[in-house]
């Protein structure tokens, strides 16, 4: 496919963009986007609005790697908002790529990233807008191959009828291997056959067991620095450097922490070099240090002191732990005058924090809050979950007590976000029950008294139920996804679009055994994702589940192997930089 712009789409677009909200979301032609000629073409689609999709780092990594290859090119697309979808349909504009305005069905490969389950109906809507058959059984030799990856691919069952091949695990090496297999195959079936031989790839109907793909280290070549600059203000509008992949804390609720093991750190020097180049190539005024738990990086302080040398650039660190060190880091990057400090105790009592293996003490939390207050922060935000395994009313009430104590430290504003826990596949809590909405509403009420001094926000328990069904469901849940798209239940993650009644009606119509999906399971129960090997054995997850019932801790595996099995199975190790780099 060549890099010529498709005038058929572009010409029609000009008439449409005047009439939709925020046209710059749909314009394409962003700085640093790449137009190239290549034998094989892929369109990566983030199945949500541009503002969300452009904030996602995984797409940036793969876009860069594929476009650096000598045989393939990568373009991008996103799901347009409803006003644009309507305008496109009225004017016969199919979903198109943002580089050359090519209809997605003209690509050899369409790739989706599955970051959250609620985006499943959006995947189908994207295909429909692109005039690509939604089911893999309906596609022929002339249709693109539809592949998918991301954390949700670890349970492929609900999307199995729609996706031709799933990539499970790290995509840096596997994506190129997949594209080479597709290039080599002459027919659709031959391509699928070849894809099924790539390590980490699951092709429904072709292979019946799959082991996740792992990269053993974070090569600098894989760090995208020519990051595409959006025109419109997106959710995370800043440069990104991934400082570490994986997390060794072993929090029992966290899917990413389980499936992205082992830990692979980049060195402080590499982080600095990548960051300098990113700022130079983008002109961004802010840089985010991305990882699952940035404060755990062994050289985080060295990295920050190096990064402070990049002029006129502010730093941000998402995902840090609730301890004093986090506050030290926040102080070091100079966020004092920013909106506030965020910590995530997750649960109100020490017993429950031990159940989830959070690895922080009450002392850690209060000393972090005190230190934040002493250093000039006026606002603090805390994250909690309710519905965690073994939770009692006492645990819930303790959240309020904690908020009260923190407010008394002298913060002007204490806010708390209370989510409803959703058990995820491949975690020790995959065996646990999920709380139903009525019970969640009852437990929320136990915290109402704290509204006198804290801003509380609860996530919708129905949203949690739907997420629970989509994440622990089997193949039959695919029918729900298909029906949801048909009934226009898309952008389900957007509050203004979320309609629990419509979902419940679909569950009912499709005879989804809600209770069965939500209830507790045993070791012997088969899971729809049993054939996907994340490297962590089901036995280890079960023993972690049993330890959780006794509130027994499992230490961070950087302090000694805890026996999950990943390193042995993949012949890899935690990559820890340590040492001082100046």
């Amino acid at each position: 496919m060549n890099n010529k712009k498709h005038s058929s789409v572009l010409n029609k677009l000009v008439g449409i963009l005047d009439k939709v909200e925020k046209p710059s979301r749909y314009m394409g032609n962003e700085y640093n986007s790449i137009k190239k000629d290549a034998e094989l073409s892929m369109c990566l689609i983030f199945p949500d609005l541009y503002d969300v999709g452009m904030s996602h780092f995984g797409v940036k990594i793969l876009y860069d790697i594929v476009n650096k290859s000598d045989f393939a090119k990568c373009e991008r697309s996103y799901l347009p908002w409803l006003d644009m979808q309507k305008a496109m349909m009225e004017n016969n504009v199919p979903l198109y790529s943002y580089e050359t305005y090519t209809p997605i069905k003209e690509f050899d490969v369409i790739g989706f990233t599955l970051q959250y389950e609620m985006s499943y109906p959006n995947v189908l809507r994207s295909l429909k807008l692109g005039d690509v058959p939604i089911k893999n059984s309906q596609r022929s030799d002339t249709d693109p191959l539809v592949i998918a990856g991301g954390p949700c691919a670890f349970n492929p069952a609900p999307m199995e009828e729609f996706i031709d091949a799933f990539l499970i695990g790290d995509g840096e090496e596997a994506t190129i291997e997949m594209l080479m297999a597709i290039k080599k195959g002459r027919s659709r079936s031959e391509k699928l056959e070849l894809l099924s031989t790539v390590e980490g790839v699951y092709v429904p109907g072709y292979n019946y067991k799959v082991r996740k793909r792992v990269i053993s280290e974070m090569k600098n070549d894989w760090a995208p620095t020519d990051q595409i600059i959006p025109y419109t203000e997106i959710i995370h509008d800043r440069g990104v450097v991934e400082i570490m992949r994986g997390c060794a804390n072993g929090c029992r609720f966290c899917q990413a922490g389980m499936v992205y093991r082992p830990v692979r750190e980049r060195s402080a020097n590499d982080i600095f070099e990548i960051s300098k180049e990113t700022i130079k190539k983008t002109g961004y005024e802010e840089l985010s240090l991305l990882s699952l738990s940035s404060a755990d990086h062994s050289q985080i302080e060295d990295a920050i002191s190096l990064l402070k040398n990049i002029k006129d650039t502010s730093l941000s660190i998402p995902s840090t732990r609730a301890n004093a060190f986090t506050v030290e880091i926040a102080k070091a990057i100079g966020t004092i005058r920013k909106s506030g400090i965020t910590i995530a105790p997750e649960a109100g009592t020490q017993r429950l924090r031990d159940v989830i293996n959070k690895g922080i003490t009450e002392e850690n939390i209060f000393s972090a809050a005190k230190m934040a207050r002493d250093n000039g922060w006026n606002k603090i935000k805390l994250y909690f979950m309710i519905g965690l395994p073994t939770e009692t009313d006492e645990d819930v009430k303790a959240i309020g007590v904690m908020l009260d104590k923190i407010k008394r430290m002298g913060f002007h504003e204490v806010s708390a976000t209370i989510g409803v826990f959703v058990p995820k596949a491949h975690t020790p809590f995959q065996f646990d029950a999920q709380m139903m909405p009525d019970e969640a509403f009852r437990r929320f009420k136990l915290l109402n008294w704290t509204r006198r001094f804290a801003k509380l926000s609860f996530t919708d328990p129905y949203k949690a139920i739907i997420e629970g069904v989509l994440s622990r469901g089997d193949k039959t849940v695919g029918e729900v996804v298909e029906e949801a798209e048909k009934r226009d239940v898309i952008f389900a993650d957007w509050d203004e679009m979320f309609d629990p009644d419509k979902w419940m009606k679909i569950f009912e119509d499709k005879k989804i055994a809600l209770q069965k999906i939500m209830e507790a399971k045993s070791f012997k129960d088969p899971f729809p994702w049993d054939f996907v090997d994340s490297g962590i054995s089901k036995g280890f997850l079960w023993s972690e589940h049993l330890k959780s019932l006794k509130a027994e801790l499992t230490p961070d595996c950087r302090n000694g192997c805890t026996g999950c099995g990943v390193c042995q199975k993949f012949n890899v190790d935690n990559v820890i930089q340590e040492g001082i780099v100046r």
Binding site: E30, Y31, Y231, T232, G283
Partner: protein
């Protein structure tokens, strides 16, 4: 030194909002690696001041902004800046102005041109020119008065064509 920049924003970039245009320009300038005056505070922004804001969808051939710097911004600088700009944006020239120069006090107004595909209705102050199959309506708009919106008069294209400075 204070520089006055003249820029053009054409093609698809006409769909940028005013705020988006400003941010795009700031990032282009940052990519040049030059030293520019910044605002104070945690989120430092470049000190830029712009001419009159335009409605989204208007082609701009007379964009203006002011920038203070100790650097010499020569032809080479323009070349570099334009080479790291998105397609559809171009800085056409820069000139050094007096430190007290302010856009709000210096601009008299802008000449707008509206392109019609059929004979337009004539409004006060409009000059209509017929060019083959299109009609071009030109008029002067006083600074900070209402700018024509795309499609306001049933026009096909809306262009802010040039700037008229006050006679000093």
């Amino acid at each position: 030194m204070k520089y006055l920049f003249y820029y053009k924003r054409t093609g698809l970039l006409r769909y940028l909002s005013n705020h988006e245009t400003m941010r795009m320009i700031e990032r282009i300038l940052r990519r040049t690696g030059g030293e520019f005056k910044m605002t104070e505070g945690f989120h430092q922004r470049m000190k830029l001041s712009f001419g009159q804001a335009l409605p989204t969808g208007v082609i701009d051939r007379s964009g203006l902004f002011l920038l203070s710097t100790d650097e010499i911004l020569d032809e080479e600088f323009l070349k570099v800046a334009n080479s790291i700009s998105p397609l559809g944006f171009e800085i056409s020239k820069t000139e050094i102005v007096n430190d007290k120069f302010e856009l709000g006090k210096s601009i008299d107004g802008y000449i707008f041109k509206l392109i019609f595909l059929r004979t337009p209705e004539v409004h006060d102050g409009w000059e209509i020119e017929e060019k083959g199959k299109i009609w071009v309506a030109g008029f002067f708009n006083v600074f900070n008065s209402h700018s024509p919106k795309p499609d306001e008069f049933g026009q096909y294209l809306t262009i802010r064509d040039s700037v008229i400075f006050k006679k000093s």
